[in-house]
Symmetry: C2
Subunit: 206 residues, 2 copies
DNA sequence: AAGTTCGGCAAACACTTGTTTACTGAATGG
DNA sequence: CCATTCAGTAAACAAGTGTTTGCCGAACTT
């Protein structure tokens, strides 16, 4: 890659980082082009060399945010071990991931039902892809014998939703700087996942 | 109430309605005082006769939105019937409520993790109160014998979260005008709730 | 070495914004 | 009936907004 492209990428990164930073305490719809460029150390007009819209910047942030999440999902699903270990590991990984990628997670939580349709749809599509992946992983487990594809899919969605909720809860606890609350969330998340997997084992068709 | 107060209430309503309407496709943080007063047919300065802030208007909307939800929760919990009937009724009521109070639900979903702290906290506090109520109702059921208060509380939170997620899903389906998707959500919600209540019946302490 | 591409800038465009001010005029209460 | 309260107004404030324009100069291409 030429020095040309490299510098452009650098500016793009500056814009993305500045945007993500500003989205710490406001939402995409209330973000301004000038605000972002100012924080990135660029002129307002420079923004348009990279994105047509602020919505486009938002979509780029979604892709970035969920790429790192994708790695996480794979790592959890790939690991071996019984249901208990898997649940414990899942919750640990969520907690750690929220800690390490705080801004990204906050952004996702905020914009999942936020005011910018394109971004909402991008997030939803990506979450759907996660559900597919979980679905495939569940199908491989012996417990899923006799399950219809539809039921399996709904189970996968339940798990994904639970993970998302847990991540959002961790987020608020970490922002509040309340370690006790964080512990309680971890306990609660494990309990809830165990309850679901228990229901799963006793399920017999619908 | 004097005619004075009555007219003031009317203006207040106009502001709240205008705000709720505008929040259909933007979030509270990006809403403007002038925007609201313009939509309400008032002068900008009039706004400050009713609210100090837009955040205050947001909190007022939260209270309003969750008051109607409160009625709903009570009606569901009060009804008799087995677990199956309760679940079916729950899902039906959610779907209907989202249909009837679309703007309020959309507002809640959007601002639950939105950019205005006061509003976020108001919503969280109210959802916590719902969990308490569900908690109390669960405690009365025979199935809860031998459950610790902590476990029961976590179960209640799981149910509330499930309901919230389902409501959000209905919301998007209705906005997309996709009846098929709506049906799938109803089926999925029933399945997931049944799975949880199945796990609950087979749970034995933690 | 000459020519072209193109990321970034400053400046200007016409608005919109939140909030305060001094005011009006109808409902209120003595 | 007269004084007071007070919801609502118009006007002004300084400051911010998104986007386009023409231009510069360094990095590319040939």
């Amino acid at each position: 890659m030429g020095a040309r492209q490299a510098q452009k990428q650098q500016s793009r990164r500056a814009l993305l980082d500045a945007g993500l930073g500003l989205l710490a305490d406001q939402n995409l719809a209330s973000l301004g082009v000038r605000e972002v460029t100012r924080a990135a150390g660029l002129s307002p007009a420079a923004f348009y060399r990279h994105f047509p819209d602020l919505a486009a910047l938002g979509v780029a942030l979604v892709e970035e945010s969920l790429a790192s999440l994708h790695v996480l999902v794979r790592s959890v699903l790939a690991g071996a071990g019984g249901a208990e270990e898997l649940i414990d590991r899942t919750v640990d990984v969520i907690e750690q991931h929220v800690r390490e990628h705080h801004p990204h997670v906050r952004f996702l939580a905020r914009e999942r039902h936020g005011g910018v349709r394109q971004v909402r749809e991008a997030i939803d599509a990506e979450l759907g892809r996660f559900a597919e992946e979980v679905d495939a992983a569940l199908a491989l487990q012996p417990v899923s014998r006799g399950w219809s594809p539809e039921d399996l899919r709904m189970l996968a969605e339940l798990y994904v939703d639970r993970v998302v909720s847990t991540a959002a809860a961790f987020l608020e606890a970490q922002e509040a700087g309340d370690p006790g609350r964080e512990r309680r969330i971890a306990v609660s998340a494990r309990f809830q996942l165990r309850l679901i997997s228990l229901g799963r084992r006793h399920w017999q068709g619908s």
